[in-house]
Amino acid sequence: MLAESLALSAVLFTIGVVGVLTRRNAIILFMCVELMLNAVNLSFVALSTLYGATGQVFVIFVMTVAAAEAAVGLAIIIAIFRHRQTVHLDDINLLKG
């Protein structure tokens, strides 16, 4: 059971990474990062069956942090939208060189 769930979380993690690489929209990018975090949560839960409750405690931590991060992140994305009227990442390249 453990191996399958670890494998699943690995797959989910990879999907998240591919999502970050391919998609161009800031929000969707952020969603993919959230997906990666949840993949890690899955592996934590799976491992807690082996080593006891610390894994699950970790999950709680991760979720709260992810929430905080989401709040600040979305505020930033709104700020960028106010400036550039778009969240399409290809247009956001003022800073380069």
Binding site: V17, V20, L21, R24, L89, D90, I92, N93, K96, G97
Partner: protein
């Protein structure tokens, strides 16, 4: 470690010889005095702020003190005499006369001591370079050889200084001229009086420096400055040889003083590679200083200097330094027959080669210059075959008549200048084609010059005959039963070489007679070509100039009796030979395998006969074949053709050197070394190249920074994959 008799124990130490350093000091004081006079008069320190340009308005202010160095082209001209001229005329020759007096007194003291002297009297003044095993003190060595040289230098020097007073009086650079002349005499005396090779080397380069300063005396003329520079650099090539010889001596014999080298030389084996290399390098130094093939090219150009300079430096004293050096290292040279043969052969070749060029020169000083190179060849033949006394004797007699010839030509040029100056003509005062028939205007100079011409041609009883004949006799005597005869030179057996040298000697003697007579004919006989207006102004030079000529005339006439061959003189014969015995005797004997070279009376008479015949034929041929009347002044004379042209252009040797040595060096240094290697490869490729590479890579990196989050995420993931790969594949 020269452990010769300490100065105090020597018989001469309590006599006036102890004050030998005074002879040296006097010319130095003369230099300092004249130098100060020249500088204080010409020097005006500029304004405090140098960069504030004074505009050209006050350029006129500059003319106030024309006594600067705006010397005009060539010899004396009347731009106003130097204010301190009186003092300089007193100090310059005066200092030298006193030195000559001292030299005479020391000479008499040395003669007085006579047989008691069996070791050179070395006077140590102070330590110059005391490091480790190399201890070089500033020490003077007074022995018979250096006494003779000192007498020649100070004697002839005084006469020439007197002559220059008349000759250079009106030149604005007068004190500067005498300052350099005195400095020259100081260095020449140091060269002959030095007790070790480095001391001689100081004098050696010092005289080179003074000849540079004096040749380029009228420096505002580019030709003169070039001639001075050429002289110094060619001398420097010779000095390189001298330096390497000194290194070899120090490395192998551990000492550089004459006494030390003489002691060390005993250990060297006869004809060994080491002693031969040392002697060859010493000879390279000698060829540089005494203008032998291949380093003679600077002497003819040195005629650009004032004529008394040519007389003193480039005839009587400096150029003979090479001969003195070989005579001084007699013990070394006698151990290296191969080197001696080289010296003899080079001397003979130079004698003939220079004589050929002398045949077709039109400039009177150039004729005499090539004659000097030729006669120096004779002296080298003399010392080359181990007859050191004969070499020194010819050196002395040559000093007399060549100085006379040069000073004579000086008064001729002086007269021509006065004439041209009076009529404001601008013809070449030194070209024989503008002269002719001067006998009628300058009888004393022409008769004295005839004496010198007969002496140099080798007509008895003049001095040239005795000294030249003795050299030829010495060569002939050594063709058999001498170390030279047994040795081989580039495969050719010694005796054959010596016969060749003898033959070349005769040929040179013949040509000498021809070109000297040619010079006399074109200058003093036949119709006058200076021009009708100038003829009125041609007259004898003032007594201050002709006086020394007379003295030199007497010396050239009687000089020969100083060293009569045993054949004639009986009791009075070979004075110089006995005098130089303690210094060069051992070297001469070693060459002639122990006993003095002897020729049967019959062969001697035969040799003398041939020599006199050669001289007479030479003069006769010149007298009959040359027609001074047919000559026309320079302006109208046609260009030379064929062989004459090559001889006039000195076999194009200068041009050859320039194309083979000078231009390639400059070319290589400029294109290959500087532009190619330095700025090209080292700077261009490595230094700037590295900078360019770094900037290029940097630019590439910054291009990757596109500003798009996608790219950054990609790079991050690629990096992550690389790191993970690094971790897992072990």
């Amino acid at each position: 470690m020269h452990t010769d008799l300490s100065a105090s124990g020597h018989p001469l130490s309590d006599t006036v010889a102890a004050l030998a350093w005074l002879i040296l000091l006097l010319p130095l004081l003369g230099f300092v005095a004249n130098g100060l006079l020249s500088l204080t008069a010409a020097a005006h320190p500029g304004p405090a702020d140098p960069s504030a340009d004074h505009g050209h308005g006050d350029a006129s202010h500059g003319h106030a003190h024309t006594i600067g160095h705006a010397a005009d082209h060539d010899d004396a001209h009347h731009a106003g005499r130097h204010p301190a001229a009186k003092w300089v005329s007193l100090i310059g020759p005066g200092v030298l006369a006193v030195a000559f007096g001292f030299a005479l007194v020391t000479f008499l003291a040395m003669r007085g001591a006579g047989e008691a002297i069996h070791a050179p009297y070395v006077l140590t003044l102070f330590d110059w370079i005391p490091t480790g095993a190399l201890q070089i003190p500033v020490a003077l060595q007074l022995d018979q050889l250096s006494m003779v040289m000192v007498l020649i230098i100070t004697g002839i020097g005084t006469l020439i200084h007197l002559f220059s007073v008349g000759y250079m009086q009106d030149d604005p650079g007068y004190p500067r001229y005498f300052a350099y002349l005195n400095l020259f005499v100081f260095f020449m005396l140091l060269l002959v009086l030095g007790a070790s090779y480095p001391l001689m080397f100081i004098g050696w380069e010092g005289v080179g420096l003074c000849s540079y300063l004096l040749i380029g005396f009228w420096f505002s003329e580019e030709a003169n400055a070039n001639a001075g520079k050429k002289a110094f650099i060619v001398n420097r090539i010779g000095d390189f040889g001298f330096l390497v010889a000194m290194f070899l001596l120090f490395a192998n014999l551990g000492s550089l003083s004459y006494t030390g080298v003489a002691a060390g030389a005993a250990g060297l084996e006869m004809g060994g590679a080491l002693v031969t290399t040392i002697c060859l390098f010493l000879f390279l130094g000698a060829t540089g200083k005494s203008a032998q093939i291949p380093l003679y090219v600077w002497l003819p150009d040195a005629m650009a200097g004032p004529t008394p300079v040519s007389a003193l430096i480039h005839a009587a004293t400096m150029v003979t330094a090479g001969v003195y050096m070989i005579a001084r290292s007699a013990t070394l040279f006698s151990l290296a027959p191969a080197a001696q043969l080289t010296v003899a052969v080079v001397g003979a070749l130079t004698a003939v080669f220079a004589a050929t060029i002398g045949l077709k020169q039109w400039d009177i000083k150039k004729v005499l210059a090539y004659s000097t190179v030729s006669q120096l060849g004779y002296m080298f033949v003399g010392v080359g075959v181990g007859a050191y006394t004969a070499g020194v004797f010819h050196l002395m007699t040559h000093a007399f008549f060549k100085a006379l010839l040069f000073l004579g030509s000086g008064s001729v040029i002086y007269a021509m200048h006065q004439a041209y100056h009076a009529t404001h003509a601008h013809a070449d005062a030194q070209d024989m084609r503008n002269m002719g028939g001067l006998r009628r205007y300058m009888p004393i100079t022409s008769s004295l010059m005839w004496i010198a011409t007969l002496a140099i041609a080798g007509i008895p009883p003049f001095s040239g005959f005795f000294s030249k004949d003795e050299i030829l006799a010495a060569v002939f005597a050594r063709t058999h039963h001498s170390t030279l005869a047994e040795a081989t030179w580039l495969g050719i057996p010694g005796s054959v070489v010596l016969y060749g040298v003898y033959a070349l000697g005769l040929a040179a003697a013949l040509m000498t007679a021809v070109y000297m007579t040619r010079m006399m004919l074109y200058t003093f006989h036949g119709p006058n070509r200076t021009g009708p207006a100038e003829q009125g102004h041609l007259r004898e030079a003032p007594w201050i100039m002709t006086g020394p000529l007379v003295v030199l005339g007497v010396l050239s006439a009687v000089g020969g009796f100083l060293n009569l061959p045993a054949l004639f003189g009986g009791g009075m014969s070979e004075i110089l030979h006995h005098w130089l015995e303690p210094v060069v005797g051992e070297g001469t004997l070693r060459v002639t395998l122990g006993e003095a070279a002897h020729l049967s009376h019959a062969t001697e008479y035969a040799l003398i006969g041939t020599a006199v015949a050669i001289a007479v034929i030479g003069i006769a041929v010149a007298w009959t074949r040359l027609k001074p009347a047919a000559l026309v002044p320079v302006s109208e004379s046609p260009a030379e053709q064929g062989l004459a042209r090559t001889l006039l252009n000195k076999w194009y040797v200068d041009e050859a050197y320039d194309r083979v040595v000078v231009q390639p060096t400059l070319g290589v240094s400029r294109t290959v070394l500087w532009k190619g290697l330095d700025t090209g490869i080292i700077d261009g490729l490595f230094v700037n190249g590295a900078g360019f590479l770094a900037r290029g890579l940097g630019w590439l990196g910054s291009q990757l920074q596109t500003g798009r989050v996608g790219t950054y995420a990609w790079v991050l993931v690629l990096g992550a994959v690389a790191v993970l790969a690094g971790f897992s594949f072990r």
